[in-house]
């Protein structure tokens, strides 16, 4: 009798444990899907799974090594997916991104350029000084970024990501219209300024002292 009661008690404990594990797993899946969903890019005709980016190793042009992307920067991060073959249309925006990198301190704003569907030779043939000195440039040599994120056929795809939360602030598909490009650049600039403007004000005296 006592042994059967013990068995019953044991069984309850197992069921309780399983329930807790199932609850935790469900919550984890739910939170992951919500967080992942927030860091995905919902375009007109498809969703780009940006949250998968952090797990993919790419060739880092500046360090000449394979590495993954660190998206834990405190400030907003501009990520541009581009192909050398499409970059006749990206050339209109590139000077603006370079200006933004000069406008905001690298501690508050960062830029990442990811070449997809491009060979190392094609990237090397891009014009000199296309990127700001602090920009990180990667090449998706294996095609994993293109496949896993499900990028649109035409690039550039440009997205501003909130640093701490990985939320998408603004995103733009390839657009050849100079006026649309200008509007998007202005919206990116505005979004960055609204997030880091106060921090820049706080840094000004330091810069001033440093300059002296």
């Amino acid at each position: 009798m006592s042994s059967s009661r013990r068995d019953c008690t044991d069984r309850s404990w197992v069921w309780t444990a399983l329930s807790v594990v199932a609850f935790v797993a469900a919550m984890w899946i739910y939170i992951a899907s919500v967080m992942g969903g927030r860091s995905d890019i919902h375009l007109a005709e498809k969703t780009v799974h940006l949250h998968k980016l952090r797990n993919i190793a790419m060739f880092d042009v500046r360090s000449s090594r394979s590495s993954t992307i660190d998206l834990t920067a405190p400030g907003p991060t501009l990520i541009v997916f581009l192909s050398g073959a499409d970059c006749w249309s990206c050339m209109g925006e590139m000077p603006a991104w370079k200006q933004l990198s000069a406008k905001y301190p690298p501690s508050l704003f960062s830029e990442i350029f990811i070449f997809v569907r491009s060979s190392t030779n094609e990237v090397a043939a891009m014009p000199n000084n296309l990127f700001g000195p602090d920009a990180r440039v990667f090449i998706d040599k294996t095609g994993e970024v293109d496949r896993q994120l499900d990028l649109p056929l035409k690039t550039p795809l440009t997205v501003l990501v909130e640093g701490a939360t990985h939320h998408i602030v603004v995103a733009e598909e390839a657009d050849n219209d100079p006026q649309s490009q200008s509007r998007f650049i202005a919206s990116v600039d505005q979004a960055i300024h609204s997030r880091v403007g106060n921090a820049i004000e706080a840094l000004k005296p330091i810069h001033w002292l440093g300059n002296r």
Partner: protein, 393 residues
């Protein structure tokens, strides 16, 4: 214009055929220009057929109603005078279906054919049998969306993609051996030439000032063998720009022979240019004395789509091909007569027009002192192309 006085007496009867004859610039003018319009000016389509981003323009790609009839009529009524000056060989049929053949390149023993319609690049043996299909449609290096032209190097075939602004290189065995992009220079290549003397590429296409930031329209672009941009040259003449001819700039080039410079002609000038190894462009020959050549005098229409373009092309005689062999220069133009083309045979040293004749065969190249002509299919849907070698008597 060829036979203009004679034919003008029969003008009322021939009006419809003359109208449609000039609508048959399928191979060299219509296809590149329509592709250019379709890709650049009107909505941009991705390979999947999905429309991206741009607005519909007012252009229509509906051809002139008599278009197909015109091709058939020209082929049936065309006079063939090649035999009077040339010894013709048996034809070689290219054994692959190519709906929109845009360019042929030769390098002994290979023949490369470029089809933009169902994008494909094909390497043929001298007897016309298919050796390989080079590359495939796609977005990665070694793939293409809008291949327009090919050029042979010592151990590769380079293919220029009009749409993706990329040059991909293939080995004769079919493997991808390299690639580079030219999009940052802000133009779309209509032709490519690999220059063996200087080990570099020349790409031909006018620049889009809105993307390049340049105020001039430059046409010849030079790249190292590894794809590093070296420089651009040759402004499109102001008169041509005024007539909107920058949209009709498909060049005809010649790169045969290790010691020969790259040469090119434009459709609307009877002028042969040469490009030096440092990209300097100079005039080799000016055929201005040929009264049968008519340059356009009115602007290329930007409205009315293909039909409007076809109506406009009736007013002039575009150059569609040229080839040289020693002192002999052949220039082929379209003519308003019941044959597709007028072939002018010149002596370069004497700057003298030796003769002119009419043919339905499209001049393609010069190979081993023989000129190569293309017999286009009577019915475009047959896609059966035949090469004919012709040696001057």
């Amino acid at each position: 214009m060829c036979g203009l006085v004679k034919w003008s007496e029969l003008l009322p009867l021939l009006e419809s055929s003359m109208r449609t004859l000039s609508s048959t610039r399928l191979f060299t003018v219509v296809v590149p220009v329509v592709c250019g319009l379709a890709i650049l000016l009107v909505p941009t389509y991705m390979p999947s057929g999905k429309r991206v981003g741009m607005h519909h323009g007012s252009h229509s790609n509906k051809p002139d109603p008599d278009y197909q009839h015109a091709i058939s009529l020209a082929l049936q009524s065309g006079s063939e005078q090649l035999q009077t000056w040339f010894t013709l060989s048996d034809g070689i049929k290219l054994q692959e279906r190519m709906p929109h053949l845009t360019h042929l390149a030769f390098s002994n023993p290979w023949i490369a054919a470029v089809d933009i319609g169902e994008p494909g690049v094909y390497l043929f043996r001298p007897d016309g049998r298919l050796e390989h299909r080079l590359g495939r449609p796609g977005l990665d290096p070694g793939e293409y969306v809008g291949p327009v032209a090919a050029s042979f190097g010592p151990d590769f075939v380079a293919v220029a993609d009009f749409t993706k602004k990329r040059v991909s290189q293939f080995s004769p065995e079919g493997g991808v051996t390299g690639s580079f992009v030219y999009g940052p220079q802000g133009f779309s290549a209509q032709a490519i030439a690999y220059d063996r003397r200087s080990d570099q590429f020349f790409l031909f296409g006018n620049r889009w000032p809105q993307y390049s930031g340049s105020s001039s329209t430059l046409f010849v672009h030079r790249y190292s063998a590894t794809g590093q941009f070296q420089g651009s040259a040759f402004s499109i003449p102001a008169r041509a720009e005024a007539l909107n001819l920058t949209s009709d700039d498909h060049p005809f080039i010649e790169v045969e022979g290790d010691g020969d410079p790259v040469r090119f002609m434009l459709p609307w000038q009877n002028i042969l240019y040469s490009v030096s190894a440092v990209g300097q462009v100079s005039v080799v020959f000016d055929g201005g004395i040929d009264e049968a050549f008519h340059a356009p005098s009115s602007p290329m229409p930007t409205e009315d789509g293909l039909a409007g373009f076809q109506r406009w092309t009736r007013s002039w005689t575009p150059v569609v091909a040229f080839a040289t062999d020693g002192d002999t220069l052949l220039i082929e133009t379209e003519c308003l007569c019941p044959a597709h083309y007028r072939l002018a045979i010149w002596s370069l040293s004497e700057h003298k027009l030796l003769t002119s004749l009419f043919t339905n065969r499209k001049l393609v190249s010069q190979q081993n002192h023989s000129f190569v002509f293309l017999q286009e299919p009577e019915n475009p849907e047959e896609s059966e192309y035949e090469l004919i070698k012709a040696r001057l008597h």
